[in-house]
Structure formats: structure tokens, C-alpha cells
Amino acid sequence: MSNSNMTRRGMLKTGAVAGAGVALPTIFTASSAAAYTNEPTGSTVTLGFNVPQTGPYADEGADELLAQKLAVEHLNGEGDGGCLNTFSSKALKGNGILGKKVEFVTGDTQTKSDAARASAKSMIEKDGAVMINGGSSSGVAVAVQGLCQEAGVIFMAGLTHANDTTGKDKKANGFRHFFNAYMSGAALAPVLAAEMGKDRRAYHLTADYNWGWTQEESIVASTEAMGWETVNTVRTPLAATDFSSYIAPVLNSGADVLVLNHYGGNMVNSLTNAIQFDLLAKVANGKDFKIVVPLYSELMATGAGENIKGVLGSMNWNWQLTDDGTKAFVKSFGEKYGKPPSNSAQTCYAQTLLYADACERAGTFNPCGVVEALEGFEFDGLGNGPTLYRAEDHQCFKDVLVVRGNMNPTSPYDTLEIVEKTPVEQVTYAPDHPMFAGGALGSCNPGA
């Protein structure tokens, strides 16, 4: 069937075509003249909002998107200005960023690293976005952060709680406002000791991926430091929906506290299973059985309904705080969408304003200028109290909230009550802390 009768002429033709094919791409090696990636030249500047619109964290993503749209409105001087009025930096005038009107594009991360990178890439390459914001998973945050570093744009992380994001996977172009697993452990441990005593025996169920691992590591370390004993740590698949088979062994393990290192749908299901086994009514080692959920969110609390009553956990921010920044944000969010914002929404809103403010103060959209403006930046008035963007790892340091499932909620939205506002000193750690060691920021990359 094959007819390979190579002639001299045929050979020459083949060679010429192949040669031309190989030579072709070398024409395009010259780099373009722009000073940095996607330098905005017109009257507008484009931001990319990359959030999960499908998949297990879709609810969080939808809420983030609402907050991001609100932030764009406020930056462009529409609406009531929100936190622009309470923000300690007064660089933002409500006339866009550096006089350019803010526009945005949206994308779906699907809570998958690959899809998130594809979506972010199209925002950068096609739509000319200078900053990517959003995301509801640490895996995605780390992946997109790496991409932004390579492409030369700024990444303002959304909800990402793993230590790695500003630990071993930190990048010069990436910034995180949200708190992390270490901070959750440091904030929760004293409250747990006070409420449950120092001689508890804990059993961990952990979502089997990087966030779960760092969460488990952090909470084990901080509870053991105050005298608790860890009976067992069990990894559960992220895709699991029924946790009965993981809950059953807890009863006979000699443990008297169950720690659920789960988030989103996982947490709703595992907590529901635990309640079905009536764990909270049990008595083990002569003490009442307790459940702890280190990372809480309003959307999870709503999903778990009655089951979260009395369960302790930690949060980055809650709409029930009473400072001016929170009030201003909750007011404009509530008036526009008819519900209070979640803490993932708040972190995306704050990140968008912080980016815009950094551009104003730097006088440029150049990522290196923005990085310089954000590093070591101290601010207030965005809802979390006085906050520092630490230069060494691009992590925000601020107070952390310890919350409890509300025993007597009066509305569908006050499902959580604030137990304690852990001061920032207590959750601060050295940049070379073992849980965060192993990575390097590198240098800022302006691309192009």
C-alpha cells in the first residue's frame, strides 16, 4: 500500500518544505516594544476575575464575583463608594485607576489547576488583563500564581488558605490577603484549650490534598503544643460525599474531639454524617464529645444548617464585625444584592481595592511598581482592622476570628457568632517558619 519511491527531485522538494517549516518560527523571536505585559494604552484598564463558576466551590465563586463587580463600581465612582470612604489610603479618587476606567473579564476556574490556568491565560493573552483576582482553592491559587509570575501580571489571590500559597510556592507577583492554616491553628488553640480543657484526645479527618495536609499539620502542631494528644489522622478523598465509614471508627478510637479538616461540600457532608451518628451527645473519657471545623465560611454554615450549632472554627472576616470598613462594605453589598457578603467575597473585594490603590500610589500599572507599593504596606479600613502586607512573603497579617455555630440564629444569615478576635501578634510567625520554608519569592516579573 505504501508507495515510497523517493526521487532526487522529490527529496529536494521535501527538504525545502521541511527547511522552510523549521525556519518559520525564528521570524517571530523579536520581543515587542511595550514596557510590561498588557500595558494599558487606551482609556480603560482590564482586570481579570477568575473564579469557580462550576464544581464544588461554585457558591463561593458566585459570591466572589458579586464582590468583584461591586469593587469595580466603587473604583469607577459609581454606587456609594463602599470602603473607598473608610480605607486608610486616600489615593483612590473614584475615577478608575490612574484615570483609566476599570473594565473586567470573567472566567471559570472549574476548581481545576489546568482549567484555571487556561482561563487566566486567555484573560492575559486575549483580553489584556493586567491583574488576575479570585479563586476558591489553594491548588488553583498556586497554579495561577505561578502562571501570573511567568506572564508578568499581578495575582491577587482570593480564598486560599493553605500555607503553601505564601510558603513554599510563594511568588513575587502574587499576594494573599486571606489568612492561612497556620493562623487558624494559632488562633483556635487557646480557645479550644479554654473551652474543652488541655487534656483532650483529637481525631482528624482531612481532605486529601495540599490544603488539607497543611491544615492538619498546623492544627495538630498547635493543639499538641498546649497538651492535646492526636489519636489518629485519616485522609479522605476530595470527591467523597459520604463519610459514614470514616466517622464510625471515631467512636471506638478513644478520641473525644473530632477535627474536620474539610471545606465546602466536603465539610457539609462530613459534619452531617457526624451529627447523624449523634457524636455530640456522646461522652468519651468522661468528657462531652466535641467537633471542630478549623476553616469556616458562611456558605458552608448555611449548607450544614442545624448541624453547625456550637461547632467551633476560624474565619478571615465576618459581616457581623462592627468596624467602619465592615459596615461600609456590608451596607453597599447588602443594598445591591440583598444579602450580607461571605468572607471569600470580602477578601476579593479588598484585594481589588488594594491592587487599585497600589497602582495609584506607584503611579503605574507596571507589576514591579505595584509589588514595591504593596510590600510592607500598612493599611486599615477594609474590615479586618490594621493590616500589614509583609514584604518577605506577600502575606497579610491581621486579626483572625474564632467563630461558633450560632445556637439561636435570628435570621438565615447570622448562622455564626464571633467568639473571639484573636490579635494579630498571636498569629504572626517568622517568614522562615518550618511550615512555610522551602520556597523563594524570586524577583518581580514585568513580562514583555
Binding site: G10, D108, E125, K126, P237, A440
Partner: protein, 406 residues
Amino acid sequence: MFGLDKKDTSLLMIVAVLTMFAPFILNPFPTDSGLAQFNAGYPDLMQRFVIFGIFAIGFNILFGLTGYLSFGHAAFLGIGSYSAVWMFKLLSMNIIPAIILSVIVSGLFAVVIGYVSLRRSGIYFSILTLAFAQMCYNMAYSVLGNPASSYNLTNGETGLQLLLDDPRVLGVSATADGSIPVTNLFGLEMRGSETIEMGAWSFSFSAGYYVSAIIMLLSFYIAIRVFRSPFGMMLRAVKCNQNRMNFTGLSTRPYTLAAFVISGMYAGLAGGLMACMDPLAGAERMQWTASGEVVLMTILGGAGTLIGPVLGAGAIKYMENIFSKINDTVLHGWFSFLPDGLEDFVVFVIHPFVGKGWHLTLGLVFMAVVIFLPGGLVEGGQRIMNLIKRRKKSDDDAAETQPAAE
């Protein structure tokens, strides 16, 4: 030319011209117009078109020729990506060793998985390949991916990434300005691109795209040769009636295994190329949905045809990346000329089919193709061609043979 007959040569030339001029063809709308939303000529998506084209061409060698429906081909894609990223981490940022290793490693996996799976045919074969792929996925996702353990091959859910302290024996760990070096082909940076402005249009030419496109053309050429070879004929015979071949005393298993390994290596090549364009390998690349996607691509384009899988891959990637980005704001922008109530209504009707609902559109298109064009997009093309030919012919007939009686 190239040892092909005239028809195949022209097909290869058409594909070559289309891929070389893709930056123009895919950007038909001026940058500032409302229709720019539908432009697909940006480097990342063009790279995806050709890379998934390679994946689908390889899948078609197995499915199109032998009829064995593998539901686990994404495993090889992922294995190829991981191999390539490891090459970038350990050896150098040149893409050649990375691509070679990814093809070899995925080939080895294909030998093992194929040897076991091909003991059965039909639905059992599909299930076996699916099981193997899910095993690979779960291994990559958690067992081999725990950063705390000493055998962290895949870095779990985060995906395998390049770091500043990777050894890179034949290259540098970090560039002079403290960033991770870029994947390149003897100095030609894969992410390098050049944008040319022509009036209101802008076209971007990416080095990575042209490298992938040339590799795609080579793969396409090899696929044509496989299709036209005695080996390919044997594979078709397997599809027709494997029992009859066995009764004549022919052992078909070496042929099917060879086809399986070749298509596995194609998938590995595609995976390796993906890592070359964007040096990250994530476990979800191996998930069963990704395996299903390549089946969709092949069937949508036309299984068993040469060009079909490439068209299918393009169609699906286009929808995934373009339709998914049309949000309500964009829709309101388009229909703002309508009166308020009507505008909201139109947006409400279209909303479920775009943005996060792009899967729905894909599903409808897929159903339409399977029902009305069982041969895929290629059959659609052929029907149109036939229609034109027939009309032409009947015109000619009408002109010439008017008086003649049938």
C-alpha cells in the same frame, strides 16, 4: 510528495496551510468590535487546538482503525506532561529532551496497560482502560503527590511546577534576575510572541504555536502513512471482524497492541507539548472526563477519518474557551439595542447556553451531529461538497444533454 498519493498530499497541504495561517484565520474580527469576543487567535488557544489535535489524531489510530474504544487515554496525556515537567526540573529547559522522555514513558505505560486491557474487547476493554486511567489519576492525585513524603512525584492537587531551586543539570536553576527560566527550543522561547497590527485587526504569532503546529503536521503525516500502510489495513480488518481473522490463524493481538502503544505515544507527545507550552502538570489532566473529551472530539469530527479528529478537537476547545467567557454583561452589551424588557428576556433565554452553561451547548451540538451526521463534521463537509458538485453537474447536464432522452 512524501510518499503519499495525490489526494493525501493535497489533504496534508490543506492542513499545513490552515495551521500556518491560523493566526489570521482565527482572528477574523477587528479587535475593538463586539464580535472580537469570538476571536480565537490568541497563543494559548491556538496551541490547545493543535495539541489536542495531536491527542485526537493518536486516539483515532486506535479507535478509528481498530474500533477499540479506550476510555482511559487521558492517563497517557498526564504521564507525558509529568515526564516533560520532570525533564525541565532535572535536565534543562530545552523542550526536545522533555518531548522525547514524555513519548517514551507514555509508550511504556501503554505497553503495560495495553497488554492487560487488550485481552478483552468491546465494553470490557473500555472498562479496563477506564479503571487503569482512574488508578493513574488517583495515584497522581494523592498517593504519589504528598509533598510531605519522600516520593512526591506529582505534587498532588496543586500540580507539578517548576521551582527556583530545581537542579536543571544542563541549564540554570534561576536566571540572572532571579526568575525561573523559560521553556525553549535551542533558545527560541516558547512563550515568545509577536503581535502585528493591521488597521483594526491585530494578529499574534507565537513561537510556541508554530513549534506545536509543525509537530502536529509531522504527527498528521505519520498518521496518514499508518492509515495507508498494510499495518493500517490489518487494523481495519480487526475492526471489521476480529473473529474471522483469528479463525484464519492470524494473531491480531500484536497488531492491536501496536496500535494501542502508538496512540498512547501520541497522547504522551500531546501531554509533553502541553507542558512545554505551560510548564505545569496537574492530575485532573488524567481524570476520566478528560478521557471522555477525546472520545467526543473524535466522534464529533468523524471517527476513522484523517482530518475529523483535528476538527473535533478544534470545535470543542473553541466552545470551552470562547463560549464559557460570554457572561451576562457581554450579553447585555450585545442586546442593548432592544427595549429593556425584551433585552432582559433575550439575555434570560441565551444565558443557560453560554458562560458556565457551555457544556449544554456542547451537548446539543454533539447530539445534533450524532443524530444527523453520524460521520461527524467530516460527513457534513462531504455532504456540502457533494451538493455543490451535484448542482454543478446537473447544471452542466442541463446545458449539454437537454435534447437527449434517458
